[in-house]
């Protein structure tokens, strides 16, 4: 090494990124990171994608990470660059998405001096990240980069920030390899086989079993989803997926009961309520899933597989905790299941399925679409047709969403057969997530069909990223279910706040067709039912980015719905159904 010219911190940084296999960085330049942009300029192996706002960069990296299983990488400048990234970091933390976010920082001698574009980035991002670093010594730089990638992808994945003072990236730095093993962070991934045996004993005795699988299965890699499918088929048990877990189990499979939770199916929620053995895999008993905790699945013996020990017994006490990687635990579960001679209680299981089938007959996602020309489009029907037409074309399809009613309709009516095809902001519920996330997905899968199912309100939160689509010729399709309301806010106001639609009307909307045109994309519009298929087909045929503005029924609500503070068996069904157990209490109204 001594014969070579010493490398700058920025060059060392890029070298470490290359060694980590980084192919693409989503970023936005600024004063504190200019030396890094200089180093990017002088190389060709890492591609930089210039976003239009730093928040978009993090969501794009999330879309990239979720659709590939790789770590997403972000580069932003100090101060406002870093603070704009915070929402995306929180989003990635809640949804366990591996991200490494490099933030510029003022030179070390200016830190704490209220310098121009200075922010206490490690202070601000501490609760927004899995871990963060401020590099203060050149000799730490390479090690910290490698460590950050290890932390981001190990255990329960999450975002990691590396704050890089400008002098650290300008001055020469040595390239120090990381230690072979992290000194303190070594999450457990192998299941305890004693616990697995207990789990099998409970499941074999079950008369009304239920599998509840979440995003942890997807994070564990596609083989975990295959193992989940194998286990479910070996047992014959019914299975539901969380919002984050959609695609972990094939939606077309007869054992699949659909999504559970606040807007889950009748059969999934009642099966959760009525089961006597519950196997949770990579799911965290989130409040959107459990409803009222003291009424949640009271009669079941519970097994909880999670890689994060703090997820276990957090909301719901369980009998058999298994701290392990979902895939490894499922492999052990299958082996123990096969090795155990005990048989399942087949008559009881058959009776359980008959019960589930009567719940299924409710057809809780049912809606009626008037097919008379000129009739208004039901949002559910728009999603259903998008699904049917896209599937019929046989293209690889990736779906992202924004947040609100359209997100729930997409989760209910778009069926996923494989993991890593569905990108939505589950935990944080970030409006504006879908467009930049779709951008990141399209970068990773240039030939795939990538659709952002959006609402007209959410899409405006990161609409600037249309510019990025244009610059990189990314043919992302933005499919707006336009009901001229912040639909979920309007729905809650209708159901919980006496129909006082305070500030939820999307007034002064732009002309989305012209907006697409202004961003060098293609705009199209459907305002009545007979136009819908033509617009979807035109959108899917279009070689450029598209904004398809689909005018939908403004009054449509998303059902079924378990109101806040209600139990799984107190769900409200839609107008298609006669009775609903609608109980919205004042206590429930106070919940989120």
């Amino acid at each position: 090494m001594s014969a070579e010219a010493p490398q700058s911190g920025a060059e060392i940084l890029l070298r470490a990124l290359k060694e980590q296999g980084v192919e693409v960085i989503f970023g936005y330049p600024g004063g504190a990171v200019l030396p890094i942009y200089d180093a990017i300029f002088n190389q060709n192996s890492i591609r930089h994608v210039l976003v239009r706002q730093e928040g978009g960069a993090v969501h794009a990296a999330e879309g990239y990470a979720r659709s590939t299983g790789k770590v997403g990488v972000v580069l932003v400048t100090s101060g406002p660059g870093a603070t704009n990234a915070v929402t995306g970091l929180c989003d990635a933390l809640m949804d366990s998405i591996p991200i490494v976010c490099l933030t510029g920082q003022v030179p070390t001698h200016l830190i704490g001096n209220d310098a121009f574009q200075e922010a206490d980035t490690t202070g601000i991002t501490r609760p927004a990240t899995k871990h963060n670093y401020l590099v203060k010594r050149p000799e730490d730089l390479a090690r910290v980069v490698h460590e950050a990638f290890y932390v981001a992808r190990s255990g329960r994945p999450g975002p990691v920030v590396i704050d890089l003072p400008k002098d650290i990236v300008i001055n020469p730095a040595p390239y120090n390899e990381p230690a072979a093993q992290h000194k303190s962070y070594r999450p457990r991934t192998e299941p305890d086989l004693g616990q697995i045996a207990k789990a099998v004993a409970i499941l074999k005795q079950a008369k009304r079993p239920m599998i509840y699988a979440g995003g942890g299965v997807i994070n564990s890699g596609p083989e975990a989803s295959a193992l989940l499918t194998k286990f479910a088929r070996a047992t014959g048990f019914p299975i539901t997926n969380t919002l984050m877990g959609l695609g972990a189990y094939p939606a077309s499979d007869p054992q699949f009961l659909g999504m559970l939770g606040m807007h889950g199916t009748y059969e999934a929620n009642l099966a959760m309520h009525g089961c006597d053995a519950l196997l949770a895999v990579g799911a965290r008993f989130d409040d959107r899933v459990t409803g009222r905790l003291n009424a949640f699945s009271q009669g079941s013996r519970k097994i909880h597989i999670d890689i994060d020990g703090s997820s276990i017994n957090k909301n719901v006490p369980v009998e058999v905790p298994v701290v392990a990687d979902a895939g490894k635990a499922l492999a052990a579960l299958i082996a123990a299941w096969d090795a155990d001679d005990a048989k399942v209680d087949a008559p009881a299981l058959a009776a359980w399925w008959r019960q589930i089938d009567t719940w299924r007959e409710k057809d809780s996602l049912k809606f009626t679409q008037d097919m008379t020309p000129g009739a208004v489009i039901k949002p559910q029907y728009a999603v259903q047709r998008l699904y049917e037409i896209a599937r019929a074309r046989g293209q690889e399809v990736y779906i992202t969403t924004e947040v609100g009613q359209h997100q729930m309709w997409a989760a209910q009516h778009f069926k996923f057969e494989q993991p890593n095809r569905w990108m939505t902001s589950g935990g944080l519920g970030t409006m504006g997530y879908g467009l930049p996330a779709a951008m990141g997905v399209q970068i990773a899968h240039p030939d795939a069909l990538v659709v952002d199912i959006a609402g007209e309100a959410s899409i405006l939160m990161n609409i600037q990223e249309m510019g990025t689509l244009s610059q990189y010729k990314l043919p992302v399709k933005v499919f707006i279910l336009n009901n001229e309301y912040m639909g979920m806010v309007r729905q809650w106001q209708e159901l919980l706040h006496g129909g006082r639609y305070s500030e939820s009307y999307s007034a002064a909307l732009p002309d989305f067709v012209k907006l697409a045109d202004a961003f060098h994309a293609t705009g199209m519009r459907a305002t009545s039912i007979e136009q819908l298929d033509d617009v979807i087909n035109a959108m899917l045929d279009c070689p450029t980015a598209v904004i398809a503005d689909i005018a939908v029924d403004q009054k449509e609500n998303c059902f079924p719905m378990i109101p806040s503070g209600a139990a799984h068996n107190e769900m409200i069904l839609g107008p298609e159904h006669e009775s609903s157990g609608a109980i919205i209490t004042d206590a429930g109204m106070a919940l989120v």
């Binding site: 501490r126 609760p127 963060n132 329960r156 000194k183 303190s184 962070y185 017994n313 957090k314 006490p317």
Partner: protein, 170 residues
């Protein structure tokens, strides 16, 4: 479930890398998730200053205490989390400096009680004492209550340092 909902006090020791921000991670975890901190001490505990030990006294239901330990355990710079209250007998000590201002009979009485508690006088003027007292939290509490009528002016307490009894280590 009733045992899960009973409130208890827990003395938790956490062995961490002695790096910038590690205390903020721990205290931020407590404030961000709404846990109580009754007392907290931190200092490096090895010759090269590589590791620090944080001792936290907290109160919560069994479910919350388990959550606190699990949340601490997943922090990246954390090596070990030990619930001294649950894992067996332990010794816990705290030190306090207590300033008492007064003259005459009250001053004599303060000194007499300090002697009973084996508090040391570390500073004195004709009108004041500063006592140094080490012991269990309850002993310090009792002493401070007794001083209230005798001119108690100011208290500075260290918070709890604790170790498991016997050969067990963190």
């Amino acid at each position: 479930m009733s045992d899960l909902m009973t409130m208890r006090s827990a003395t938790i020791s956490v062995l961490v890398d002695n790096e910038a921000g590690v205390l903020a991670r721990v205290t931020g975890l407590f404030s961000g998730r709404g846990y109580n901190i009754d007392s907290l001490t931190v200092a490096p505990v090895d010759a090269d200053g590589a590791h620090s030990r944080i001792n936290i006294v907290t109160t919560g239901t069994a479910m919350v205490i388990e959550q606190i330990k699990a949340q601490l355990d997943r922090l990246v710079p954390v090596h070990r989390v030990s619930d001294l209250t649950q894992e067996g007998p332990h010794v816990a000590r705290e030190m306090a400096l207590i300033k008492v201002i007064g003259t005459g009979e009250k001053r004599v009485e303060a000194l007499r009680i300090a002697d009973t508690f084996r508090a040391r006088v570390v500073d004195t003027t004709t009108g004041s004492f500063v006592f140094e007292l080490t012991g269990a939290t309850e002993k310090l509490d009792a002493f401070i209550v007794l001083m209230q009528d005798l001119g108690l002016a100011e208290v500075s307490r260290t918070g709890v340092a604790a170790l498991a009894r016997g050969v067990r280590t963190i």
